[in-house]
C-alpha cells in the first residue's frame, strides 16, 4: 500500500507571538492532515488559535515551530524553508475565501475572478473564458458586469468562491466564510463548498466559530486555547 498523499499536512505546528516574558503561544503542537476532496472545519471560539492555524497553512504567518506540507511540498520546517516562493505557492496551490468577501470594489464580478487568473499568467481571453464559465456555474452569469456594491451578500461571496477556485487550487482556505451572511445564505455557501470539494478534488479547510454551519463536513477539529482538543468525523 502506497503512502497517502495529503493536500495539507501539519505536524506539531506552534506559533508564538512576541519574545521573553511577553511571549504568547497562539497555537501549540497542532497536527492536521487533510486529503484532497475533503471538507474539514476548524471550530472554536474567538481567540482559540483557529485563524493562526489557517494563516500558517495559508503561507501568511510564519510558524515558530513545526512542519507544514502543501500538496506534498514541504513549505515550513521550523520556519519557512529558505528560498521558498510563498507568493507563487499561494497563487498556484491555494485559494482563499474571506469572512467579508474581499472583492476588489473597482472591479466587476467578472474582473474580480479574471484578476486571479491573470496574476497566474493566463492570457486575457483565457482568463475571461474561464471566469465566465466559473461564474456561470455558480449561477452568476447574469451578474458578470456588476460591481461588488451592486451584489447581494450571498452573490458577492459566490464571486469570492469563484475567485478562490479560479486557478484550480489543491487547497481552499476559508476564514469564517459565512460570518457576513444570514443563516440561509450561510448554509448555501457551505453546501456549495462541499459540492466544490467533491467536484474539484480540492481540500477545503474552513475556520468558523458557528457549529451550525459545519453540518455535512467530513471532519471537524475543535480548537481552544491554542490547542486542538479533538477531532469529530461526520458519518464515520
Amino acid at each position: 500500500m502506497g503512502k497517502i498523499m495529503y493536500a495539507i499536512e501539519v505536524e506539531n505546528l506552534t506559533k508564538i507571538y512576541g519574545k521573553g516574558e511577553s511571549a504568547v503561544t497562539a497555537l501549540a503542537d497542532a497536527c492536521i492532515q487533510v486529503k484532497p476532496g475533503e471538507l474539514v472545519a476548524i471550530l472554536g471560539p474567538s481567540g482559540s488559535g483557529k485563524t493562526t492555524l489557517l494563516t500558517s497553512i495559508g503561507l501568511i504567518n510564519e510558524p515558530t515551530h513545526g512542519k507544514v506540507v502543501i500538496d506534498g511540498a514541504v513549505v515550513a520546517d521550523e520556519g519557512w524553508l529558505p528560498g521558498i516562493d510563498l507568493k507563487r505557492l499561494r497563487r498556484e496551490k491555494l485559494g482563499f475565501i474571506f469572512q467579508a468577501h474581499n472583492l476588489i470594489p473597482f472591479l466587476t464580478a467578472l474582473e474580480n475572478v479574471m484578476i486571479a487568473l491573470e496574476i497566474n499568467h493566463l492570457t486575457r481571453s483565457e482568463a475571461k473564458f474561464r471566469a465566465t464559465e466559473l461564474l456561470g456555474a455558480l449561477n452568476l452569469g447574469h451578474r458578470l458586469n456588476n460591481y461588488p456594491s451592486a451584489l447581494s451578500g450571498g452573490e458577492a461571496q459566490r464571486v469570492a468562491i469563484a475567485r478562490a477556485l479560479a486557478n484550480k487550487p489543491k487547497v481552499i482556505l476559508a476564514d469564517e466564510p459565512t460570518a457576513a451572511l444570514d443563516t440561509e445564505n450561510g448554509k448555501n455557501v457551505m453546501i456549495l463548498l462541499k459540492k466544490l470539494a467533491m467536484e474539484n478534488h480540492s481540500a477545503i479547510l474552513v475556520v468558523t466559530h458557528d457549529h451550525r454551519m459545519v453540518e455535512g463536513f467530513d471532519r471537524i477539529f475543535h480548537v481552544n486555547d491554542g490547542r486542538i482538543l479533538g477531532e469529530e468525523k461526520n458519518g464515520m
Partner: protein, 400 residues
C-alpha cells in the same frame, strides 16, 4: 488587466476633481513661467521694436530705461556724421499716469522723429502719425479706439492708429506721439510759469548795475531762450551701415565726453539683469515653491488613495499577486493624474493668457521641461504610496 484604469473608472468623479484641482495648481505654475518669460519680452519690447544698434545716452548713466538720461536733440547730427552710422534718430520716453473712467491709468509715452525711426513697429488699425502735432498711435492694450482723445500737458491728442503689443519694461502699454509733442508734454511750462520766469530773469539782470539796458535785453533773450527750450531727448538711437564696426563707432562717440554709446547687447543686459532681476528671481522662487507644493499634494493624494486600498492590496498579495502589479497600479495612477492635471493647467492658461494684465509668453521649451518635472514629481510622489503598499501584510485581508 490594468488596475489603475479600473480604479479610476470606478472613482472617476473623485479622480476628475482631484486632477482639476491639481491642474489649477499646475496652471499657476505654467502662468508663472509665462509671466517670467513675459517680463523678458516686455523689457525688450521697445528695444526690439526700435531695431537700433546703438543707444546714445547721457554720460555715466544706464539710460534711458534704467536711469534718467537727458541729452540735446541736435546731437543727432554729430552722431549721423560718425563714420559707420547709417542713420540716427532722437527718442523721448516718459511714463504718464492719468485718470481714465475714474481709475488711474498708466502708459508709456514715446516721442519719435516722424522722419526718423523708433516709431510704432506696425499699424494694426488706422494710420501712422501724419502731422507734427496732436496725433498719437497707441498700443492695442491701451483699450482706445480711433478718434478717441486724451489730454496730456497743455493739449488734447487724438488717436489715429493702433499698434500691436508694445509695452514698457514695467509692462505699461506704449503710446507714440511726435518728438515735438513729447518734448512739449515733458518740458513745456504753462503760460503763467513762462511769464513768471521771464519776469524773474529780467529782475535779476536789472539788478546788475554794470549792464547797459541793451546788454540786459540781449542777455534776457538768450537766457529765456535756453530755459524755455524743449529740445532735449532721452536718447539718440543709431543704426550702423552694413559692415561698420560697432566698437569703433562706440569708441568715437565715447571720446566726446558727455555721451555714452550703449550697444544693443549692453542695453539688453541692463534691462534683463538689472531691472527685472529681482522680479525674475521672485517668480522663479514662486515656481519652485508651487512645484514643491504640487509634489506634496500629489504625494498626499497617492498616499491617502493607497490607504483607501489597503484591503485591496492585502487581498491582491494574499492571492499571490506580484509586487509589480501593485506598484504599477499606484505609479500609473500617479502618472495619469499628473499628465491629466498638466494638460488641464496648460489648457486653462492657453484659453486665458490673453486676458492676463501682464504679458504671458508660453515657450515650448518651458512647457516640455515642466512636463518632465511633473512626470518626475509624480514618480517620486508615488514612492510614498508604493512604500506603504509594499509594507502591507497579506494577513490584513483577513478578518471583518
Amino acid at each position: 488587466m490594468n488596475l489603475a484604469i479600473r480604479d479610476i473608472r470606478y472613482h472617476r468623479g473623485r479622480f476628475i476633481l482631484t486632477s482639476i484641482g491639481l491642474g489649477l495648481l499646475l496652471g499657476v505654475v505654467i502662468s508663472m513661467g509665462g509671466i517670467y518669460r513675459g517680463l523678458f519680452a516686455d523689457a525688450l519690447a521697445i528695444l526690439d521694436s526700435t531695431k537700433a544698434d546703438i543707444w546714445v545716452v547721457q554720460q555715466n548713466t544706464n539710460g534711458p530705461f534704467a536711469e534718467s538720461s537727458r541729452i540735446p536733440e541736435d546731437i543727432k547730427y554729430r552722431i549721423k556724421a560718425v563714420p559707420g552710422v547709417a542713420e540716427a534718430s532722437p527718442l523721448s520716453f516718459q511714463t504718464i499716469q492719468i485718470e481714465r473712467a475714474g481709475k488711474p491709468f498708466r502708459f508709456f509715452l514715446i516721442g519719435y522723429d516722424l522722419n526718423g525711426f523708433g516709431g510704432p513697429p506696425q499699424i494694426v488699425t488706422g494710420r501712422s502719425i501724419g502731422q507734427k502735432h496732436y496725433e498719437m498711435v497707441v498700443a492695442k492694450s491701451m483699450g482706445m479706439g480711433i478718434g478717441d482723445k486724451i489730454h496730456l500737458g497743455l493739449h488734447d491728442y487724438a488717436v489715429v492708429g493702433i499698434t500691436g503689443k508694445v509695452v514698457s519694461s514695467g509692462g505699461d502699454p506704449a503710446a507714440y506721439v511726435s518728438l515735438a509733442d513729447a518734448q512739449d508734454i515733458q518740458f513745456k511750462k504753462d503760460n503763467d510759469a513762462i511769464r513768471n520766469d521771464r519776469e524773474r530773469i529780467g529782475a535779476n539782470l536789472a539788478a546788475i548795475q554794470s549792464l547797459t539796458p541793451g546788454q540786459a535785453k540781449y542777455l534776457k533773450q538768450n537766457i529765456t531762450g535756453i530755459t524755455e527750450s524743449t529740445h532735449t531727448v532721452n536718447t539718440i538711437v543709431a543704426r550702423l551701415a552694413p559692415g561698420a564696426d560697432l566698437k569703433e563707432v562706440q569708441e568715437r562717440i565715447s571720446r566726446w565726453n558727455h555721451f555714452r554709446p550703449i550697444s544693443i547687447e549692453e542695453q539688453t543686459k541692463i534691462l534683463t539683469k538689472g531691472m527685472i532681476e529681482k522680479a525674475r528671481m521672485q517668480l522663479g522662487l514662486f515656481r519652485v515653491i508651487l512645484l514643491v507644493i504640487s509634489a506634496v499634494i500629489i504625494a498626499l493624494i497617492i498616499y491617502t488613495s493607497t490607504l483607501d486600498k489597503i484591503k485591496v492590496i492585502a487581498t491582491l498579495k494574499l492571492i499571490g499577486s506580484q509586487n509589480r502589479v501593485i506598484i504599477g497600479m499606484i505609479l500609473q495612477q500617479s502618472l495619469l493624474m499628473g499628465v491629466i492635471a498638466y494638460f488641464i493647467g496648460y489648457g486653462l492658461i492657453l484659453l486665458t493668457y490673453e486676458k492676463f494684465p501682464r504679458r504671458i509668453v508660453l515657450e515650448a521649451f518651458d512647457l516640455q521641461v515642466l512636463f518632465i518635472i511633473v512626470i518626475g514629481i509624480c514618480t517620486i510622489s508615488s514612492f510614498v504610496g508604493i512604500r506603504k503598499a509594499l509594507k502591507v501584510e497579506p494577513a490584513e485581508a483577513l478578518g471583518g
